[in-house]
Symmetry: D2
Subunit: 326 residues, 4 copies
């Protein structure tokens, strides 16, 4: 198929590449000209503007927007929808909040434009491994785009089949993509995916902290071990209950630098973790682990807080305990 | 009554003072001679050693041990029990682990010595306000010691009577002390008291953090307030649902220094918070808030942890996110 | 002063009563006629409609809206603002989300109407104890309303003065109300107050669970106590570090029924707990305890969840552990 | 090599089988005769008692104890150590607490008997996939047992090599086993492994709860989706960041029964989760996620708790909120 891709960063660029490898035609645009040039050198057709791109696409046209969530995506989606003509399709492959999708789908629908939200997991590895995609939108449109999703998805590959799936109605899940539901459903499932990701990561992090602290010189010598983090991460990859791709990545990082001294440990978070908590609250679902994982990231970026000083002040107040600045 | 007090720190010294004010005779000992001298100057009888103290007490003797939990208390209790003679009473008024009480009570019981554990709350304010006491031990011994507990307790004072308590069997709770049960029960209830204390403190701390961050220059100006922490703490003391003594202390600290700059915010914890979690785990009781409060103190004393670097390393691994040391 | 009160439920009715006791004139309205009649019988002037109320007030008029947050408050505020005339004042004394206040203040401001948000704590006890109030709005309007707030507030009463406050600029905090800042600031501070309230309550709840489970027949007999919850709650009120008004209420409930058999333990939550978490997330402030407290309420209302079945299914998958429906 | 295996349950029986498949000679014993008979039918040599087993082994002998942690393991280890003779080796392959290992290693060492602790992960799948093993003990003994561990481990298989490990000193980690350190180190690392496992499982569980609740009829229809849990679990296995073996198992369970109606959701826990929290507390390491995961299991097994009734009672106390038994 022929489609335009707007946003050629780490994700968008590789999506363009993977589509070309599977024989699709891509027209590419980014505000940053060198990113366009790079893709053009690999066979993509460059566009000088959104208008230019529109001119180079068939009608109805297909656009894949791969920009940061929030204003950049919003503005581009609206700009595209204004001139692309009825029956065109605008795909948001970024990390938008699912309620924005619902709103946009309605807005674009009034112009006869189809809106599809695609939650895309796979990070920098997607080019080689393929992208896991969770898709929201109307059935006909999603079906129409199937060749694109099929090309981007990992396919069955060498991931063993789940026993009991032989009779599944929908073969797409086994190839690495699903039509999750109407507008927003794709990003909703992707959002929860990221919420889980935060929880998984924090579980490993806490476990490694318990291991690392067991090596600490703060412990009495007879309570101390000399555990090898690198080997532990490696052995857990092999036959243990907690093997996972995140653990593979941890093992790789440790194999390079057992002390991880190149990392600050001040950990960022993007919207999805927070939105998952908001969704949990809207549904009155307890999400202790997912929110604790989010808060651990917040705290990792802070020095001692005002609230911690309040604790010190109370302790001084009732017990005369002195916790002075160092 | 006449009793010996071993350990004249913040708590032990004031307990001696309050007992003297209520007409009891106290013999005092501490490894630190000036502490003995100070009490002697206020009317206590000084002892030069545990042996000396024993000689100055009636038989059977009463000892109140007010030392740090762990080795200091353990060694003193054992030393006392070896020579004090049958029917003597050893009171541990410190913060021992309740399982140590159970073990000691059995050990002393074999020598005919009575062991009483007293969990004591009230901190540096106890001399004036009286001490809230949770007592474990055999009934006859606890009853025998009633004049001592009665003197130390706050009494009914001006704390309003709880409606419905008019017919309560036991008047002691209204005076500020209870016989909680056999050996260890006093420290068990005190332990849970401290576990709750941690939770309460952390609830206020988080609330003040949410308030303080609303003043932060990191927020866009139109989302920012200029909240006055001192006045907020004060107003909550007056008619609000969250008024408490801990809030009173917070208001006092803020009235002195609205920014609490004299405090580091690196918050210590003693054994009780941890033991409460252990008890919860032995009973399979969920204790999310109590353990979160404990962990917040741990984190307040740490710089970025190894586990946080593991998070950064994973994020770099799957997404190319760079969180480097600053 | 003369003001109209709309909404005569538990809170609104008592606010009307307390204002009358302090010599203010109140016109009252509620959709529920008997509530109007009751207040009329106590000296309030009844109104048959918002229009009728407006006619009975001086101009510019003062309205105190005391309705459930959300649609009821929103609709009433808008209805009032449309006809009340410039310089009138609309007070929202309910539990609105502070961002709604900001929006409404702007909307009413365009008509020259002043909007004041008042977070009110004190519950069913406010009539006697007075209400703790956190107020948002422009300074002139809040100052103008001072006689009303002064009447509703508890006043200094017998709550001891906080040392160090002698020189405080603003005497209002000591009387139980503050002008927290511009529109929304009142409800923002009240929201955090409620978030803290959830955390405090859960800390006590977990502590009592650890105590209660120690009485459980599931424990081996030699690890069991027979702790008296009623006496424990009572003794902690007296001289302990964790004394508070919430503990007073707990002691009252236990004095009536030690097993609390009249309560389901399926605990509701209103918006403030959730909004506090949202605010924490907007500010990137860790709020482990406040969110754990909220989640505990969610879980208290649920039977075994789908996620818990996922846990069982995984355990069966890797270990053959069988956790079948009972 | 020749070794005795005591305990022929799910784990012990399959360990015996896997060792035989790799050419080792196993003598088997269990209190349950049919389990012995079954293994004997597959080529193992049956023993009628520990004494009988000892007679059938070479000297110094090797014993692999695969029994429930606590008394069964303790008694068997002691019984074996009393008569097995110097230089014999007792392996505890179960889930013992690592401090018990340290104590036992010392106790057996005084008799010249070597003690090795092996934390074994892999569950019912180990027979085919091999077991991931974390081993504690003295170097010479662990090296001597290498043929046994090598046979039980998964080997490199088709798990891709971690980039950067080419020069690793110790090839064992890549084959699925490590010598973690002296006595107890094996079970310590396995304990943390299980702590992480709890955290990972709970992260998935909460995520699926957020998804499932989005299908709930309690939500207004326009906020509801009709998400397919089975397909979602499947698609996340393929190229997503959260793919893992636990997710594979989840996908299998859902493929069999999308509603998981065969499971109660009342989730058990064994010692390791709790011990991981204890270790975290000994080291003052925050472990919010690991403990939240443990508590979620506790709560899953409870009806409404006393503490939850305390919450209801407080709410009634301050606000007149009524939460009565249903």
């Amino acid at each position: 198929m022929k489609l335009g891709i707007i946003g050629l960063g780490r994700m968008g660029g590789n999506i363009a590449r993977r589509l070309m490898r599977h024989g699709h035609q891509v027209i590419v645009y980014d505000r940053n000209q060198p990113l366009i040039d790079a893709l053009a050198g690999e066979g993509a057709e460059p566009a000088g503007s959104l208008d230019d791109m529109r001119g180079k696409l068939d009608h109805p046209a297909i656009f894949w927007v791969m920009l940061p969530a929030g204003a950049p995506t919003e503005e581009t989606v609206i700009a595209l929808s204004e001139h692309c003509g009825a029956d065109s399709i605008v795909i948001d492959g970024g990390n938008s909040f699912y309620k924005d999708d619902i709103r946009r789908a309605k807005m674009l629908g009034e112009k006869g434009v189809h809106y599809v939200d695609v939650g895309t997991s796979g990070g920098v590895w997607g080019l080689e491994r393929g992208y896991c995609m969770m898709i929201g939108g109307d059935k006909a449109t999603v079906d129409h785009l199937d060749p694109i999703f099929d090309a981007l998805a990992p396919g069955q590959g060498d991931v063993p089949r789940t026993p009991g799936r032989e009779d599944a109605d929908d073969p797409r899940a086994e190839k690495g993509y699903i039509h999750a539901g109407p507008a927003g459903a794709g990003h909703f499932v992707k959002m929860v995916h990221n919420g889980i990701e935060y929880g998984l990561m924090q579980a490993y992090a806490e476990g490694f902290d318990v291991l690392a602290a067991k090596n600490s010189e703060k412990l009495p010598e007879d309570q101390r071990y000399d555990l090898n983090m690198t080997d532990i991460a490696e052995v857990w990859r092999r036959g243990s209950v907690i093997s996972s791709w995140l653990l593979d990545l941890t093992a790789q990082a440790l194999a390079k630098d057992e002390r991880l001294e190149g990392f600050s440990g001040r950990v960022s978070d993007s919207g999805e973790g927070r939105w998952t908590i908001e969704a949990a609250m809207e549904e009155a679902v307890p999400a202790h682990v997912l929110s604790a994982a989010l808060y651990a990231r917040y705290r990792s970026r802070l020095d001692n807080t005002f609230g911690e000083k309040v604790l010190s002040a109370m302790r001084f107040g009732f017990g005369g305990h002195v916790e002075v600045p160092q």
